[in-house]
Amino acid sequence: MAIEFRKKPGIVAYLTAGDPDLATTRDIALAAIDNGADVIELGVPFSDPLADGPVIQRASERAVARGVRLTDVLDLAKELRAARPAAGLVLFSYLNPVVRMGMKRFCARAAETGADGVLLTDMIVEEAGEYLAEMKVNGLAPIFLAAPTSPDARLKAIAGVSQGFVYAISRVGITGTQQRVAGDASELVSRLRQFTKLPIAVGFGISNAAHVRAVGEFADAAIIGSALVALIEKSPAEEAATAIGQFIAGLRA
């Protein structure tokens, strides 16, 4: 139970929890792990996902409309941990549901589920004092985002407080919608390498085997999000796990 990329490049699979429903998300996550995903990022649906593109935004809207709550996502994490003890498991959320639960309580409950780490999309290092303290108390890895627009001083601070891996955003913009892995990404990864020995995972717009191969040239892992969520969106619920399993299996082809 740790974040570890056994094959190169590693695969991180993002799923919006509760889309189309929590039981199906569990099956999809298990299929993703069994077909080669090293880490599952379990996304807490939020009403205002302003860093996400239309695909994940729609998934979030559907899950919120179904009444999926942070507590449900924590329960799901616990189930996944019990079913696949060796997989990496990261909780992914916007801040407000966490603030509503209370930072201290959230971190304690995240640890109880057996999750390895937490990524909060709209938490920057300057505001993270209490968050980092609670993560430490609970033995959880705080994962921060690094952007192509982050100057070196910010990358240093981000690398300094991250654990597990650093999430390098492949280009400026929202999730989804990219044809090619931009040159921004390799430059960002090489700048980050100056400051950390942690694995570096690249996300935003990674949607096929060619992208994963390209990312593997310069980074440790590829993060797939919108492509999975789009596939789930167009698959009947009972076929979604199989479809995602096949998709993940094909990413290192």
């Binding site: 996902p49 302003l50 801040l95 509503r100 209490e130 985002l145 627009t149 400026v172």
Partner: protein
């Protein structure tokens, strides 16, 4: 629950208003926010920048705006003297031009040629489109489709001024959703684009900067009040959506602790979540939280999902509120009440017929509170209402909501 126990911030961090404010944004925006903070702090101290802003506020926008004694309304209410700070007389018809002009000049100074903005009632969009035309900048305005329907006239005005208006159909298709889309655009085009945020909210430095561009309202009003009445007002009343006109009207009175500051939120149709935009009312569902870059009061359910809102006025229809208001609320320096859709509509009719002044529906919320309050006060008391904008834009709504047959009557 304070930010320091919730999010790890302390009151000494730049951009904090007590526990509130801060920066809660995707990392991609941080470099832009730091660049903006730096550019703004340099511009603030630059006499040439301030002189150009002052000159345009005077000759282009029409400042200072009058402080008008509403004699007939006062007589009808039979209590405190009611004064109106006439921001409705500004170019483009609302206080929003103060901030759009200030930020537009800042954007040009920073070398940004592309401007984005969001708008609820359209007044900020019109102000931004106007400033972009004046300064020769490209302009894209995001607006909820529900608001586009409610404020058709302002959509047309923006297009006439050369702006591209992009409709947003997500969520409740109102201001909150327009801000989400504007932030998505900014995240994507951050290297070339300046985001003129329209209220005193969002991540630092926006709440401070927007307040600074609007504090001219209270600076003028304070001096005018001393000149015209020989004393400060008993109370200052302003409507509060995001809170920009209110913070502008309150700010210079903050040290005058005998001046009551009263913010009026949209009470909408009722107290159930989704039926109003009253973030500070105890029964309403507003609690401290993080929305769109700042820590403040947010209308939300018990799972932390942001609630939809309702107001007859598109400009007050927002689930959060500027963080400085959150601080003023908690400290008690300002008090916040709410006014229903119906009372705002009635106040629109009353002010139109007593003074010949047609207020924006937003401002009518403040007028309604003054109408409620004035009769309870002594004739020696003075109420100042910030009339943040004029009501021309609301004609379509008024025509639908009011059943006018010569004397006021509001559809129940």
């Amino acid at each position: 629950m304070s930010a320091s126990s919730t999010t790890g911030a302390t009151a000494t961090v730049a951009g904090r208003f007590g526990a509130y404010g801060g920066r809660y944004v995707p990392e991609t925006l941080m470099a832009a926010l730091e660049e903006l903070e730096h550019a703004y702090s340099v511009a603030q101290k630059d006499a040439a920048f301030q002189a150009e802003l002052d000159d345009l506020l005077h000759h282009y926008c029409g400042r200072p705006t009058p402080l008008y004694f509403a004699k007939r309304l006062t007589e009808q209410m039979g209590g405190a003297k009611i004064y109106l700070k006439r921001e409705d007389l500004l170019h483009t018809g609302a206080h929003k031009i103060n901030n759009a002009l200030g930020q537009g000049l800042l954007a040009r100074r920073m070398g940004k040629q592309r401007i984005i903005a969001e708008t609820g009632a359209g007044q900020h969009g019109v102000a931004t489109a106007t400033v972009c035309a004046l300064l020769g900048l490209e302009c894209v305005v995001y607006m909820g489709e529900e608001d586009m329907r409610r404020q058709e006239l302002n959509v047309y005005r923006m297009r006439l001024l050369g702006a591209e208006v992009r409709g947003v159909s997500a969520g409740s298709a109102t201001l909150k959703d327009a801000i989400n889309e504007a932030m998505r655009d900014w995240v994507t085009n951050v290297r070339t684009t300046y985001y003129i945020l329209g209220s005193a909210l969002g991540a630092h430095p926006y709440p401070t900067m927007v307040r600074d561009f609007h504090r001219v309202i209270s600076r003028e009003a304070r001096a005018q009040m001393l000149e015209q009445e020989g004393k400060l007002p008993t109370a200052v009343v302003a409507c509060v959506g995001g809170g920009s006109n209110a913070i502008g009207a309150f700010y210079e009175f903050l040290p005058d602790t005998n001046v009551q500051l009263i913010g009026v939120e949209a009470g909408g149709r009722g107290t159930a979540l989704g039926e109003h935009a009253a973030r500070f009312q105890k029964v309403g569902g507003g609690l401290p939280g993080v929305l769109q870059g700042t820590y403040s009061y947010v209308l939300q359910n018990d799972a932390g999902q942001v609630s939809s809102t309702h107001s007859v006025s598109a400009g007050l229809d927002y689930a959060s509120v500027g963080p400085e208001h959150a601080m003023l609320h908690d400290s008690g320096r300002a008090s916040y009440v709410s006014c229903s859709d119906d009372d705002a509509l009635k106040a629109t009719v009353t002010l139109s017929r007593t003074e010949g002044i047609l207020p924006a529906l937003e401002s009518a919320h403040a007028v309604a509170e003054a109408i409620r309050l004035a009769p309870t006060m002594a004739k020696t008391d003075v109420l100042m209402v910030n009339l943040s904008g004029r009501g021309d834009k609301d004609m379509g709504i008024l025509a639908r909501e009011l059943d006018l047959k010569g004397s006021e009557s509001v559809k129940g």
